[in-house]
Amino acid sequence: MMFAAAALGILVAIALAMFRAFSGPTVFDRILAVNTTGTLSVILISVYGFLTERPEFLDIALLYALINFIGTVAVTKFVQFQGLGYPVGDHEDGDV
């Protein structure tokens, strides 16, 4: 009951964040909303693991947390510098 209520609330929050991801005026609104969706999906996977009484789902949640961080920083860097490898033009070295 408790975990079902938590999962329902998190789904509502994911729907709101996805609305901003689809309708954001700039690309940074979309990146921010996708990052929030990733954090919420980490919580949703954890809650689902407890809901089905299989807490091994926490391993997947931990992996999602790692991938979410790397992915958001990579997309931000790609949008800013049009590339992931080397610094472009007069930008500083390895800048994020």
Partner: protein, 118 residues
């Protein structure tokens, strides 16, 4: 005399309801606030208070020590990476020329009102 299990259930309910309140408030802010930098404030609330309170609510129900350690790992990791992401995103937005909202008028609204004046 209240049993320990009931007490843990009540505490877990309180933590999860508080976490859901912060999560949904933060996402409503993400939808309704006027500006990228203002929306980061709402997203930060989801990433700190909402996430932490819901995971603490789950932590009270952990059946074994390894599950508790994994929850604490997730908590600590998101707690450290969320400000880093927000910082990188704000810096990239400033680099790309997004102007922060000053005195209640966003950049796009200002250009529209200036267009209507001329």
């Amino acid at each position: 005399m209240i049993e320990t299990g009931t007490l843990i259930d009540i505490a877990s309910w309180i933590f999860i309801i508080a976490g859901l309140f912060f999560t949904i408030t933060g996402t409503i802010g993400l939808v309704r606030l006027p500006d990228v930098f203002a929306r980061m404030h709402g997203a930060g609330m989801v990433d700190t208070m909402g996430m932490a309170l819901i995971l603490v609510g789950l932590l009270l129900h952990a059946p074994s020590a390894i599950v508790a350690i994994k929850i604490i790992l997730i908590l600590a990791f998101i707690f450290f990476t969320s400000p880093t992401t927000c910082y990188a995103l704000a810096r990239a937005a400033l680099h790309a020329g997004v102007k922060p909202m000053i005195s209640g008028v966003t950049d796009s609204q200002k250009t529209e009102s200036e267009k209507s004046k001329t």
